[in-house]
């Protein structure tokens, strides 16, 4: 794994987040949510700062980060693509849509394209089952996505 050095500024941001939750260990998950939404992801170095601030072990923080699929230790693409793999989307062909994205972007689930533009992940039901299969790019929801329609979606971001 590449190790990164956090800037003074970033460290202070993390410290401020911890402080806003009174440096309480029980608030770890809230702290991680806030930190990830500020920094984009939670690499080991960030976890170390959080552990120190909340007065707990890095192992505990790591254990929590890796337990929950919402938290990520690698940076997402500029336009993160999530394909819904909920049951409603699955029975309406989500797998084919996923295959097509994989082929088009030449990456697999959990990876980011070399230019850092797109990353691919799966999620379970965004609650728009009526529009299955559903794909999200960032916060935008695309419904009734067909495998031959994904080029068009990607074009929106090129």
């Amino acid at each position: 794994m590449v190790s990164i050095k956090l800037s003074e500024n970033k460290i202070n941001q993390i410290k401020d987040i911890c402080k806003s939750f009174n440096n309480e260990k029980g608030e770890l998950i809230n702290v991680l949510h806030k930190t990830q939404s500020t920094l984009g992801y939670l690499p080991a170095e960030v976890q170390e700062v959080v552990a120190r601030e909340l007065n707990t072990s890095t192992a505990h923080v790591y254990g929590v980060v890796t337990f929950y699929s919402f938290f990520t230790m690698i940076p997402k693409g500029e336009f993160p693509i999530s394909i819904c793999m909920g049951t409603a989307c699955y029975v309406r062909g989500a797998e084919k849509v996923l295959d097509e994205f994989k082929r088009e972007l030449k990456i697999t689930v959990g990876e980011t394209t070399a230019d850092g533009k797109f990353s691919l992940s799966c999620l379970r039901c965004v609650g728009a089952c009526g529009l299955a299969p559903v794909v999200m790019v960032g916060d935008k929801v695309y419904g009734r996505v067909a495998p031959d329609g994904i080029k068009e979606i990607l074009n929106d971001y090129k």
Binding site: F67, F70, V91, R124, A128, Y142, P147
Partner: protein
């Protein structure tokens, strides 16, 4: 200011959001203003109407008209013809879709009573629908036990999946002695393909807040926590707004309505782990730890959050409470079957015409749900199965279509109520693949604490995969069965104890499909790619080259005007060629 006479409601649920309902709402407001009607016509965004597939949706409240599939260019016509001249725009009417004719007739809305009817961001609208009246009644009675008795008598059972009697749970928590107790609302909604709780929180957040305060008073808790999935940003936003409004009006905070009772609510966020819907795991997660379940007893009602007695209820369970208090236990108990009272909200999805949210009285049959409310199977295909209970549930088939739906009947049929996901499958769905899909989910979501679930489910998945690849044997089917029972019997929490259900129920109901997969190596629904081949019939092929040009992996060779050939070693079975061939020369073998 003139009095508002007419209301136009625009559905603001997630599905409709994706269809740009905001553009509809703002254009509608603009049109109303242009016509100088903004003094008497109000446009507002509400929660989900439950017609997710037909959005965006506009409802005209005064004459209860629903327009479906509304486009920005339709708005002027709706305003001019309907609002001004009083003539409905027939081509957009809900009834113009023959599948939707009986959609609302068989439904009974209790938990969803206000969804799609009020503006969830405006507490005044909740007041207009008896909002916070129930809390007032409960506090006025000065008798927590009386409230518990009402809930007990109503027969309400938990809607989160287990079906535990709610009143009894409240009573146990109220009898636990402690300096601090908690009321927790479980809004984790992990079942993939279900969105009942989210719709309630988006459409009627105050009803859940009010119910939590009532529960707090009944059991003697002053603190409430909502554990909600971080993946539900709209629901979180609406809930936060509602909590603030409720505080402003004094329904949360100290000395509520002068009763001396204090109660407030905080939010805790889930982070994408299905097992956190299990109550002990949920509590560990709220404490900032990995969401691993622990053995029960002790039950949360005795020792839960921070070791204190904690009453965990599901969102939909809570949404029923205020109505029960207002209308009485007898009223509620008169609805439903002998042991399952009231209604249940289902997220109806899959191969069905009317995908969306429905609320039906307990005891309704699957046939009524699928063929009447759901409008039948999509594209005139043949019904095969319906999956209820998500990854913990099972499949019901043709023979169960007339069974009245309640907690006990579903279990007897080899499935379960679950939280309310209902996925309809047709002849194109391979049941082995469906079982594999659920096991894939379970393997990913198992917390790993206990061996049968962590390793056993992985083995189940591998056997299912082997079968879908055409490498399964009859022996594997026995293994599936035996292993399933071991996992069920020996897992620590509800996840492992129920995860083999999709396998067992498909084995039971679709034994012949399994047999076909392992003996003749055939998948009758053509879903298992390893068991099928795309072939070109040289007699039919005119050599137009359409297939070859569209094949993403260049698996098709052939000269123009001569019959083409698919190289089976290269073909990835995407089906593109078959779709593109205008001469029906390509088929699946």
């Amino acid at each position: 200011m003139a009095k508002i006479k007419k209301h136009l409601l625009v559905c603001g649920g997630t599905s409709c959001n994706a269809l740009q309902n905001e553009v509809i709402a703002s254009n509608l407001k603009e049109t109303i203003r242009e016509k100088g009607l903004n003094e008497e016509v109000q446009v507002m965004m509400t929660g989900c109407f439950g017609l997710c597939e037909k959005g965006p949706i506009v409802k005209v409240l005064h004459d209860n008209t629903i327009y479906i599939g509304v486009k920005p260019e339709d708005l002027k016509e709706i305003v001019e013809e309907h609002i001004i001249n009083g003539n409905k725009v027939t081509r957009l009417l809900l009834d113009s879709d023959p599948n939707l004719k009986v959609h609302s007739k068989k439904q009974l809305r209790i938990a969803l009573r206000n969804c799609g009817f009020i503006d969830p961001e405006n507490i005044n609208e909740y007041f207009a629908c008896d909002g916070y009246l129930a809390l007032g009644k409960v506090l006025e009675s000065k008798d927590p036990q009386k409230t518990i008795d009402i809930i007990k008598k109503s027969g309400l059972r938990g809607r989160g999946g287990g079906g535990f009697p709610t009143g009894l749970k409240w009573e146990i928590t109220s009898k636990s002695q402690a300096d601090q107790k908690y009321v927790v609302c479980n809004a984790d909604e992990g079942d993939p393909g279900a969105f009942m709780d989210r719709s309630i929180l988006e459409g009627d957040p105050h009803s859940v807040i009010e119910a939590m305060a009532i529960a707090g008073y009944a059991i003697g808790a002053t603190k409430g926590l909502v554990y909600i999935r971080a993946e539900y940003p709209l629901a979180i936003e609406r809930l936060k707004t509602a909590i603030n409004q409720s505080r402003e009006f004094g329904f949360l905070g100290t000395d509520i309505m002068g009763s001396g009772f204090d109660f407030d609510i905080e939010l805790r966020y889930g982070a994408g782990a299905f097992v956190c819907g299990e109550e002990t795991a949920l509590i560990h997660s709220m404490e900032g730890n990995r969401g691993e379940p622990t053995f029960k007893p002790p039950f949360p009602s005795v020792s839960g959050y921070l070791g204190k007695p904690t009453n965990v209820n599901n969102v939909e369970t809570f949404a029923n409470i205020p109505v029960i208090i207002n209308k009485g236990a007898e009223w509620f108990a008169a609805i439903g079957t002998e042991k399952s009272k009231g209604t249940k909200v289902f997220a109806l999805a899959g191969k069905i015409n009317n995908v969306g949210l429905i609320e039906v009285p307990m005891g309704i049959t699957l046939r009524e749900i699928i063929y009447e409310i759901g409008g039948g199977i999509k594209d005139g295909k043949k019904f095969k199965a319906v999956q209820t209970g998500g990854p913990s549930g099972g499949c019901l088939t043709e023979v169960h279509l007339d069974t009245p739906i309640d907690y006990d009947n579903l279990i007897a049929a080899g499935s379960m109520m679950g939280s309310g996901g209902m996925i309809v499958m047709d002849e194109d769905d391979c049941m082995v693949s469906i079982a594999k899909y659920y096991l894939d989910f379970t393997v990913e979501e198992s917390c790993g604490k206990c061996t049968p679930c962590r390793i056993g489910n992985k083995r189940l998945y591998e056997i299912l995969e082997k079968i879908t690849l055409g490498k399964g044997t009859l022996e594997d089917l026995d293994k599936l069965k035996n292993l399933s029972h071991v996992i069920k019997d020996t897992s620590l929490c509800g996840l492992g104890q129920t995860s083999p259900n999709p396998v067992l129920s498909t084995l039971e109901n679709f034994w012949d499909e399994y047999i076909e997969h392992v003996t003749v190596k055939k998948c009758r629904s053509n879903q298992c790619k390893a068991l099928m081949q795309y072939i070109i019939d040289p007699e039919q092929c005119v050599g137009c080259t359409a297939c070859a040009r569209n094949c993403p992996v260049n698996a098709i060779t052939g000269e123009r005007k001569l019959a083409h050939l698919i190289n089976q070693d290269i073909c990835i079975k995407c089906g593109a060629c078959m779709e593109k061939c205008k001469f029906n020369a390509i088929s699946i073998k």
